[in-house]
Amino acid sequence: MEQQFDSATLGMWVFLLTEIMFFGGMFCAYMIYRNMYPAAFASTSKHMEPFWGATNTLVLIVSSLTMALAVRAARLGQQKALQILLLLTIFFGLCFLGVKGVEYHQHWVDKNVPLIAGHWDYSNSEEFPNQAQYAKQAQILFCFYFFMTGFHALHMVVGVALMLTIFFMARRGKFNASYFTPVEISGLYWHFVDIVWIFLFPLLYLIGRTKEMM
């Protein structure tokens, strides 16, 4: 049993390594373009709403706390607490996705969606002195924004589904103080997805606000 726990945990860590490389590819490409077009990238980040980004950061950090407490409850065999904490984690995960949805909607209204014809119009951005040149570079940033947050949101959706599964398993009394491997490893996954966001938030939302320092 202990060997299975060890194997499963190691397996999840190795999986998270591949996830790091997966996101790492995107982060690397993002850094290169940010280095190529710093001004355009800084200006475009003003179209992000740091209030929503910060809210989501907070939501995720709290969800990580409830997740960590859930693992602790599982380890101690506290069934009721485990279920409540899992529900809270799911709730915060859904909050995050909801806020992300609000933001995406705002971009849609502002015509900041370069992926879809008819929803990309950057000419009304007053802060651009050289419209044509910046508009194209801004398009690349928005693509990165949608890819990176999109892939992250996808991971959140998977995470919420995972937590629902764990919750129903917990309700059926699958876990006890000596067997809680699924709680532990899905917890690892959840924390990983949170940490990705911790990097995404400053990279995508806050560059324009540190422009003077660059």
Partner: protein
């Protein structure tokens, strides 16, 4: 480690993984790593012959200097599909997913891999990827080359790039899951006494391969996802018209695909250590160095990708760095070659079929590796970039190395997997055909390439015809050399002589159980009391693990 030879008749009757259950459901829903390995063997054999058909079409077209069989567009699709199928659907899964899947757990004395369900899932993912790749073929092919270079692939190509890229993307996850499974299995499931210093070198090689699969594959996945999105939505990440950088694609692609070259050779090197040691009746010379060189190749292999890009206008300093590291990565490969040779020195060598393939590997891989150094040299590389010299180089490594090792390993372990012997005479004949046919196919390409014949054209200057005729003739022989083993392997399933538990008198836990092995591999968990390759009974060498 004594081996009790049983009466062949009783061996055939013993319960084993093949007769434990019957019916297609018992195969498609199996969690037995041995059955999954068999599923993989069947799937990659299909892909191998499919890729081989495209190779044959290429060689037929190149028989004459004019483009008279197919037009250039069709030819582009031929070499692209040949590359995609052979690289992603044959070479990468070839040894890890088949022989590795079957023997890594057995060699460390485990009942199965750590995650049997994930193992089965990886096969289904592979099949899903293969279906996408085949769909791309059926719908009309892809013409970007297996490397999917942008902006051609993302903007200009009018073929089914997204379908093929999806196939590669999906198959990548099968590779990741196999690697993940191996890493955890090797860490956590070794039998008592099976220390890291006693692991067979095949296991070390698969461990190093798994590291690359786990760390490299996700990068190509995200890269191909970006190409697909770029193609679908024209968003500009790789499009210079918008400000994107197509060279970035090459960096990200080769960051995976160069290490992937080592996914395609390291397991072959692992097989080689087993073969050379068994048929020389000696422990592998310098075990710690051979084991460490696998890890060394995996690590340095991640730092050399830029040598595919010397002519892209990359910074000169980057080129110097990549050139230097490409020379360095040759060192661990050379250590292996020298150590196998030293293993054979004063060994009592027998010339069974697997050993013939091992000899072939040493010769051909050495040529492939040394011509790799030509290509790592900046000035020479500029001269031969995108010529047949490069084509010949990597075929010496991929086919002369990996395919020969795979064939050698398949012959070596066939008796264990099926309980039946293959016909030795035919097998030797086929091994010689493969060796001769291979050299006749690819050696002339070195010359044609050095003289300037560019790769990936369906027509060429008439003075190169003699090399191409030789090459096509060789490919015919090579093809025959693959078909013969296919026939006698299938034949041997029914008519082969019973193999017994250990026909080669080989060392290693996999030979201590019955042939074919029982469902859980061992009657009781084995306890390991000696080093790997303890062939010399009169003197025990002390190895430092």
């Amino acid at each position: 480690m004594s081996t009790v030879l049983q009466d062949p008749q009783t061996v055939a009757e013993t319960p084993n993984y093949l007769n434990a259950e019957y019916g297609w459901r018992s195969w498609l829903f199996t969690k037995d790593h041995k059955r999954i390995a068999i599923l993989y063997i069947i799937s990659i054999t299909v892909m191998f012959f499919l890729g081989g058909i495209f190779a044959g079409l290429i060689r037929v077209e190149l028989l004459t200097p004019q483009g008279d069989l197919v037009n250039s567009d069709t030819y582009n699709k031929f070499f692209t599909m040949h590359g995609i199928i052979m690289v992603f659907f044959f070479l990468i899964p070839s040894i890890p997913a088949t022989l590795g899947n079957f023997f890594v757990p057995m060699m460390i004395g485990a009942k199965d891999l750590a995650f049997p369900r994930i193992n089965l899932l990886s096969w289904y993912i592979y099949i899903a990827g293969a279906i996408f790749a085949l769909a791309a073929v059926v719908m009309g092919g892809v013409d970007t080359g297996w490397t999917f270079y942008t902006p051609f692939s993302s903007t200009f190509s009018n073929t089914f790039v997204i379908t093929a890229a999806c196939g590669v993307f999906i198959a990548g996850f099968s590779s990741i899951l196999t690697g993940l499974n191996f890493i955890v299995t090797i860490h956590k499931m070794r039998a008592p006494g099976m220390t890291w210093g006693r692991l067979p070198l095949f296991v070390w090689a698969n461990y190093a391969t798994s590291l690359i699969q786990v760390l490299g594959t996700p990068v190509v996945a995200i890269t191909l996802a970006l190409v697909g999105l770029e193609r679908a939505f024209h968003i500009g990440i790789f499009d210079p018209a918008i400000g994107g950088d197509p060279i970035l694609f090459q960096h990200m692609f080769w960051f995976y695909s160069h290490p992937a070259v080592y996914i395609m050779i390291l397991p072959g090197m692992g097989v080689m250590s087993e073969l050379v040691s068994c048929f020389s009746r000696k422990a592998v010379f310098g075990y710690p160095f051979v084991a460490a060189s696998s890890i060394g190749i995996a690590v340095i292999g991640f730092l050399v990708w830029g040598h595919h890009m010397f002519v892209t206008g990359m910074s000169m300093y980057a080129s110097l760095y990549f050139s230097l590291l490409s020379f360095l990565v040759a060192v661990p490969s050379a250590i292996k070659i020298f150590n196998w040779t030293a293993t054979m020195f004063r060994g009592s060598i027998s010339y069974a079929t697997p050993m013939l393939y091992a000899f072939g590997f040493i010769g051909l891989f050495t040529i492939g590796g040394l011509t790799g150094l030509f290509l790592a040299t900046l000035a020479v590389d500029v001269h031969v970039t995108d010529t047949y010299f490069v084509v010949a180089h990597f075929h010496y490594v991929m086919v002369g190395g990996m395919v020969l090792a795979y064939m050698g390993g398949l012959h070596f372990w066939w008796p264990k997997m099926t309980g039946k012997m293959y016909p030795e005479g035919w097998a030797k004949f086929a091994a010689l055909l493969v060796f001769a046919g291979f050299n006749l196919t690819f050696f002339p390409q070195f010359i044609a390439g050095y003289l300037g014949q560019p790769r990936r054209y369906h027509a060429y200057a008439p003075e190169f015809q003699v090399y191409n005729v030789l090459s096509t003739a060789g490919a015919t022989i090579l093809g025959l050399g693959y078909i013969i083993p296919f026939i006698y392997f299938v034949w041997s399933l029914k008519y082969g002589a019973p193999a017994g538990n250990n026909p080669w008198k080989a060392k290693g836990l996999e030979w201590e159980t019955t042939s074919p092995p029982p469902t859980y591999n061992f009657e009781t968990t084995p306890i390991v009391t000696e080093e790997a390759y303890a062939y010399a009974t009169h003197k025990k060498e002390e190895h430092v693990g």
